[in-house]
């Protein structure tokens, strides 16, 4: 498991509240959530569907607008960032992995992995080198030219993980990364994430409601109806 003696947290969340809608139709997705994540930790956020996991991850990654509370990621105050600042945060600091993979079906695996590098303006040769390295890391060296439709769900999710790692993010946010996979493939994907934490020293915040996958996490945050109910070290 990751070291726990790191001083400065990479993620600091304080008094986070998020409400969707207004009046009688208002839904309190998050209600006073506070926690910290240290560098090199793999933290699992668990809870039933609708408990606020995705909202929490989207807010931490700057994909959703902050209403109340503070979020600091790698020293950057997320609430104080404008649109360009949020783009830069997602481009340079945070990597995302989604349940539905989000791969471009008309592009090959290597082209999909290379998208964040194109956004950063990385030269072609350097980009190709990095993409090859990432595909090797996720065990898909022989599938570089395949399109998502020609790959299994587990392979597609590994391509998505390679894409999320392309810009060497300090924080990887994974929202139900095994949600569309069978239990064996899901466990393999989680083991891959665990391996990345240990090999690269990366921090991972992963939402899941699969209890078998939680065992691989350093810490577990339990969300229920938008509130943090338990805070457990594995």
């Amino acid at each position: 498991m990751a070291a726990t003696t790191i001083t400065e947290p990479i993620v600091q969340v304080t008094g986070l509240r998020r409400v969707y809608g207004s009046g009688d139709a208002a839904v309190r997705a998050l209600d006073g959530v506070s926690f910290e994540v240290s560098p090199g930790e793999l933290v699992a956020v668990v809870g039933r569907s609708g408990s606020g996991k995705t909202t929490l991850l989207n807010l931490v990654g700057g994909l959703d607008a902050l209403q109340e509370g503070t979020i600091t990621v790698a020293g950057r105050d997320v609430g104080g960032l404008d649109e360009a600042g949020l783009d830069a945060l997602r481009r340079d600091v945070v990597g995302f992995v989604f349940q539905s993979f989000g791969l471009v079906p008309t592009l090959s695996a290597s082209e999909n992995v290379g998208i964040p590098l194109r956004l950063r303006g990385v030269p072609v040769e350097e980009r190709e080198e990095r993409v090859a390295l990432l595909l090797e890391l996720v065990g898909l060296s022989g599938h570089a030219a395949q399109r998502p439709g020609e790959m299994s769900g587990g392979q597609q999710q590994r391509v998505a993980i390679a894409r999320a790692l392309a810009s060497s993010p300090r924080l990887l946010i994974a929202d139900e990364p095994t949600g569309q996979l069978d239990s064996e493939t899901g466990l393999a994907v989680m083991a891959l994430l665990r391996g990345i934490v240990e090999a690269e020293g990366m921090t991972i915040l992963v939402a899941t409601h699969d209890p078998t996958l939680v065992a691989l996490a350093d810490r577990v945050l339990h969300l229920q109806d938008g509130q943090l109910t338990q805070h457990v070290a594995s």
């Binding site: 990654g61 994909l63 783009d87 830069a88 945060l89 997602r90 481009r91 340079d92 945070v94 990597g95 995302f96 989604f98 539905s100 993979f101 989000g102 791969l103 471009v104 079906p105 008309t106 592009l107 998208i115 964040p116 194109r118 956004l119 950063r120 998505a160 894409r163 999320a164 392309a166 810009s167």
Partner: protein, 280 residues
């Protein structure tokens, strides 16, 4: 003997009867409008009896002994119509794509989407012939006027198809590109365009097919092409030449439809796709 009472069945409220008043009123109003229209156009019902005979008569004039000497000129003018259609499609598709993408929800902001969509709706309401009549005062009676009318007239529907195609792209890909730090333009370029491009290319070819048909109609107002020729021959009652023109128009249009349809299938379904459902 003790009596066993069956549990009381819960009373279930019957579903409300559908209200038919609005439907009946609409039917009556529609019927009244149709009758009023028939009354005002003064239809000569007696002429209907002679119609089949007249049709056969004119078909004989056109196709019994077609004047094949007119074939080269007919082909030449059909080619002018095809060029008009092609140029109109090219201009119209380029403008529609540029304006249609920001009109899509999730790409352009509301203040831009709404006026763009209003402009497309206004253009859709004006037929190409009317557009041609308006712009020929500037550009004159030339095939370019026809191409320009096709381009402008096509923007209304083609831009609508464009933003609808963009909106139909599953959101996951665009979200992933945005999550990778993509700006609005980069998200459109990498998250939406690769998925929408095949469908948009297919629609561009379909626009060309539609323009080939419409270009013949535009010829009727004198902008050149096969429609122009058809008007001339009809006015001078050269039915044997009209027959040749109709044959050329039908064959060329069907050939273009077949080639374009095959290309569209290949683009949207892949090289090995075959027609099995008969919808294409």
């Amino acid at each position: 003997m003790s009596a066993v009472l069956a549990p009381a069945r819960p009373r279930v409220a019957a579903p409300p009867r559908p209200r038919r008043l609005a439907v009946r009123t609409a039917q009556l109003v529609t019927g009244a409008v149709v009758l009023a229209a028939l009354w005002h156009v003064h239809l000569d019902w007696t002429g209907l009896r002679e119609l089949p005979g007249d049709v056969v008569h004119y078909l004989r004039l056109m196709f019994a002994h077609p004047d094949w000497s007119k074939l080269p000129y007919a082909l030449q003018q059909t080619w002018v119509s095809v060029q008009m259609a092609w140029l109109g499609a090219l201009l119209g598709v380029v403008v529609s794509t540029v304006l249609g993408i920001p009109a899509a929800q999730g790409v352009g902001p509301l203040w831009l989407r709404l006026p763009l969509r209003a402009v497309f709706a206004v253009i859709r309401a004006v037929p190409e012939v009317i557009i041609a009549i308006v712009i020929l005062t500037v550009t004159g009676l030339t095939p370019f006027t026809g191409a320009l009318a096709l381009a402008i007239g096509g923007i209304g529907t083609h831009a609508k198809w464009t933003y609808e195609t963009i909106e139909a792209v599953p959101g996951g890909t665009a979200e992933a590109v945005r999550a990778a730090g993509g700006t609005l333009l980069e998200t459109a370029r990498w998250g939406l365009w690769p998925e929408a491009a095949p469908e948009l290319l297919s629609l561009a070819l379909y626009r060309f097919e539609l323009n080939v048909r419409t270009s013949a109609i535009l010829g009727l107002i004198g902008v050149g092409g096969v429609g122009d020729l058809l008007t001339g021959y009809t006015q001078y009652r050269q039915w044997d030449a009209v027959g040749v023109l109709i044959v050329v128009v039908v064959v060329v249009t069907m050939a273009i439809d077949a080639v374009s349809g095959a290309l569209r299938r290949r683009i949207t379904k892949g090289a090995r796709a075959r027609v099995v459902d008969g919808t294409e």
